[in-house]
């Protein structure tokens, strides 16, 4: 994450460095337009922020920092919550709770840990809390959730770690690659059906899907090598059992 200032004034957090040809809001009001680049270039400061600094900004409650952390990790947190709960609306509730709990816990965030896995662990716990709350409410109302058994044993850290890593890899693929992978695996389409959907030749679909899978496999190479492990998702303190 990058913190950008122009002439000493905070502009915004960004995942990309500032560049010419782009207009930026300065202090939320003034515009540094594309044509002014030569004028402002000398006063631009970009600082690459580490997870610890990002967490500190997040803990301070800065709306820009909250947005930056959400934009970097929101979809991953949502995926973890969705995997636990199997419901879009509940997953959104859990995502909100996860970010709130993370904000409350941010002052004690251990900078030795990566921010993403720390958030994932919180997301899992928040999702389980949402599930329990929903079940209690349903039981109180005399309802029995048909999906209760689906989440009575929440996914393990191993499963969530796989989802987390694959989602991160898929999200970093070009949109064209994401599309063919999604159509093939999630939509269950054949290459011919994908060709018809995208209005391109089957041969192009095959070459595109091969290229997309190669990129995906390369992005996930660390899993094959065993460089990373589900332990990254475990909290620094105690382990959380699935039924806790």
């Amino acid at each position: 994450m990058i913190r950008i200032t122009i002439a000493g004034r905070f502009v915004h957090f960004s995942r990309e460095p500032i560049s010419p040809g782009t207009a930026y809001l300065v202090d939320g009001s003034e515009s540094a337009a594309a044509g002014d680049w030569d004028v402002i270039r000398s006063s631009v400061t970009t600082v690459v922020m580490g997870d610890a600094e990002m967490a500190a900004e997040f803990a301070a409650g800065s709306a820009d920092a909250v947005r930056a952390v959400y934009q970097a990790y929101g979809r991953l947190v949502y995926s973890v919550a969705f995997k636990v709960l199997g419901d879009a609306s509940l997953a959104e509730d859990a995502t909100q709770q996860a970010f709130l709990q993370a904000w409350r816990a941010a002052p004690s965030y251990d900078p030795a840990r990566a921010l993403g896995p720390w958030l994932a662990t919180i997301a899992r716990r928040a999702a389980i809390d949402v599930y329990r709350h929903t079940r209690r409410h349903e039981a109180h109302a005399g309802l029995e959730s048909a999906e209760a058994t689906l989440v009575s044993h929440p996914p393990s850290l191993d499963e969530l770690y796989e989802i987390w890593e694959v989602r991160r890899a898929v999200d970093s693929l070009p949109g064209e690659d994401q599309e063919v992978i999604r159509l093939q695996h999630f939509a269950g389409m054949s290459h011919a059906e994908i060709a018809e959907r995208l209005q391109i030749p089957v041969g192009t679909v095959k070459s595109r899907t091969f290229r997309a899978h190669r990129r995906l496999v390369n992005l996930l190479a660390h899993l094959r090598r065993g460089d990373a492990s589900p332990a990254q998702l475990r909290p620094a303190g105690r382990e959380v059992s699935p039924d806790e």
């Binding site: 930026y24 970010f99 709130l100 941010a106």
Partner: protein, 224 residues
């Protein structure tokens, strides 16, 4: 077994004889790729709700002594309350309208409606920009909610225009706006066919055609 063989198997292009270990690994990845959770897209408004939630909590018990940004969040609350009151008033008007027999297409907001989502990335013209869009099918067409950040406000004859584009490159305009936050757009073409969403910078003097200055782009994908 070569890496290309493993990728060809995963991509469904060939069926080479893989070792049981490679087969198991490929099948595990294939299983994950079919997971709904992997492709699920949060609502475009979730980011704002998270920001508001933390802004509210910061107002009550800041873990830090507070910043200018927190003050900005606090300042926005009365406006939200006004919107809430307006929303309640609108709901009352709607209920009265229904009572006297006005036909309202409430099915437009049905939770079962076909829905697409798009995650938009900033181009080299706007590398700090990003956006999320939710496209919901209604009886009148596709209602599109766009929430984009990192785009400066454009005024005085300058504005943004959103488009849906198909594989042949035909772009259909779906609306213009000055700021990217909480924008409502409408399309008369389905995102299944027009599967790329873009946003361009335009000028009033430039006429109705696209300026070609694309600041945001991303594919649409069905989520429901």
């Amino acid at each position: 077994m070569s890496e290309d063989d493993r990728i060809a198997y995963l991509a469904g292009i060939a069926d080479p004889r893989l070792s049981s270990e490679d087969t198991a690994e490929a099948q595990r990845l294939q299983r994950i790729l079919t997971e709904k959770a992997l492709w699920a897209e949060p609502d475009a408004g979730l980011e704002q709700r998270v920001v508001d939630l933390i802004g509210d909590a910061a107002g009550e018990s800041p873990p830090d002594s507070g910043t200018a940004s927190v003050s900005r969040i606090r300042a926005s609350r009365p406006r939200r309350r006004r919107y809430t009151l307006l929303g309640i008033a609108a709901a009352v008007v709607l209920a009265v309208g229904l009572a006297v027999g006005i036909s309202v297409a409430v099915s437009n907001s049905s939770s079962g409606a076909t829905t697409f989502a798009a995650t938009l990335s900033g181009t080299r013209l706007a590398p700090g920009a990003s956006g999320k869009a939710t496209l919901t099918q209604t009886t009148s067409g596709w209602r599109i909610h766009l929430d984009a950040t990192g785009l400066p406000r454009l005024d005085n004859g300058r504005f943004y225009q959103a488009w849906l584009k198909n594989a042949a490159g035909t772009a259909i305009p779906i609306g213009t706006f000055n700021e990217g936050r909480n924008v409502m757009l409408w399309a008369g073409v389905p995102p299944s066919d027009y599967s790329t969403m873009t946003v361009t910078r335009q000028t009033a003097q430039g006429g109705p055609a696209s300026s070609g200055q694309v600041v945001l782009v991303g594919p649409t994908r069905q989520v429901r």
